[in-house]
Amino acid sequence: MSEHSTYTPGSGVEKWLDERLPIIRFSKEHLMDFPTPKNLNYWWTFGAILAFMLVVQIITGVVLAMHYTPNVALAFDSVEHIRRDVNGGRIIQATHAVGASMFFAAVYIHIFRGMYFGSYKAPREILWILGVLIFVLMMATAFMGYVLPWGQMSGWAATVITNIFAAIPVVGTPLLELLRGGFSVGNPTLNRFFSLHYLLPFVIAAVVVLHIWALHVPGNNNPTGVDVKSSRDTVPFHPYYTMKDLFGIVLFLIPFAWFVFFAPDILGHPDNYIPFNPQVTPAHIVPEWYFLPFYAILRAIDFNILFIDSKLGGVIFFGGSILILFFLPWLDTSKVRSGTFRPMFKWFYWLFVVNFVALTYLGAAPAEGIYVVLAKITTFYYFAHFLIILPLLSRLETPRPLPTSISESVLGKAHS
């Protein structure tokens, strides 16, 4: 993809700057003229939507931190103070809280797009791994942010999630006390979560820079999965994709704005409007919707596996369900990237999506009766997709013939 530089400094000042800090050259080559496959569909706009969401969360978050107090006696009231007293605070707080949900909605679409079109395959493995790393950092950030309002759901989420670490043999309990800064979730916990919640978005931003760097070495994948062969297959990023991405962002803002203005609490839980009480657990605790699939996996393991007790077992599967994504590039060995040309993969892909949605549903369902059985089946299938189905498909499947180039697939054979 590295073509000859398209930048010629115009003025004397630009030339002077270019010899010292070639920032204009860099911007022109990577943000404007970057050759991008001309067949990218709207699923590809979610990268830009995610960058936009990160900026939204950082800006609203910095503003909220100007009014929020990370102390167990004051935190709950300070969030209410933001919502009731601070000028525009109602909208800013709602944007940040709903923004977390919209951020995750976008990242799930982005991840599933990558999984369908084989964007994790060579030479984009590092790009994919950095993406999974961003996802993990997002989960940590969202979890700690959810604790800050210090309602019942906040406090019990902090209790349950930090308790996961206590399942680790030998070092579990000391590690738990180290994480909490006490024997239970309390003021030290809230303070450090606030500190880390402020820090992690900037770590995410740094990994996003690496993610885009890793993207710009091989260039974008595309819906055919066929490599770019000539400049006829590409268009410059600006204005073609800056405008398309911007339009995608505008469309994405419509449901976002609807939630913020008309239903800011619909994605949350009423119990979080009760201040945290360490003596009483709400009858039905569930995490935010974006953690439900993984929560379902954590709960599904309620039996001992050999010498591993049910608690540690749940934690291992919970961690494994995320860690396995790091290995995806080596589990799917099919040479064909795009699911469009993989007749069998396509079906199993959608089955995996349905299974993932089922896990989301089961994560919110009470842990009793048929739900327990279904959670075990869907958990098994989640892992089977990665460990059994993908490796087997790569051997058994006969892919459909690929177009010879992106141009051909866009314009039809007559033009090739």
Partner: protein, 174 residues
């Protein structure tokens, strides 16, 4: 390779390795306080021991008190509950412990336990579940009238804090 390294293995190499080693120790010495500050601080540890008067708790009543930030159940058990707990054969228990091991001799009516479910730390609901004890609403663990795990994902019995009877109606926890 070996002979070449030997040939060039000089005082300079020794200094290089020694400097690196001292540097690593120094870095670790700087990192440790930055991690250790996360551990429970002096004010948290200072709350480690409390006294609690049992006199006001009626038979069949249960109260929840706080110790080191953790909720603690103090239950005045009925003779029926004690008899039921003592009659359970150890073979039926996931985490075997006799009722005597879970109470103090001469004070069998008093059950003092940390109120966090041993699964993921929720507070179980009293007087419920299938074993006349506690039921955890989060993930469905059932505990019996001695706080022993009987069914569900929790791995162990409700934890007993270190405590002793200072008199018949006064206990010290911690």
């Amino acid at each position: 390779m070996a002979t070449q390294a030997e040939h060039h293995s000089t005082r300079r190499d020794f200094l290089f390795v020694a400097t690196g080693a001292v540097g690593a120790v120094g870095a670790a010495a700087v990192v440790w306080p930055l991690i250790n500050q996360l551990n429970p601080d002096a004010s948290t540890l200072a709350l480690a021991s409390i006294e609690f008067n049992l006199a006001g708790i009626e038979e069949g009543q249960s109260v929840t008190i706080m110790w080191r930030g953790l909720p603690v159940f103090v239950r005045h058990r009925t003779p029926a509950e004690i008899a039921e707990a003592q009659a359970v054969p150890l073979s039926e228990l996931k985490d075997p412990a006799t009722d005597q091991e879970r109470t103090k001799p001469g004070h069998e009516q008093w059950l003092v336990m940390i109120a966090n479910c041993t699964h993921l730390g929720c507070v179980p609901v009293g007087d419920s579940g299938d074993f006349d004890g506690w039921f955890c609403p989060c993930h469905g663990s059932h505990y019996d009238s001695a706080g022993r795990i009987r069914r569900g994902p929790a791995p162990t019995n409700l934890v007993l804090p270190p405590y002793e009877f200072l008199s018949d109606t006064l206990i010290q926890i911690g």
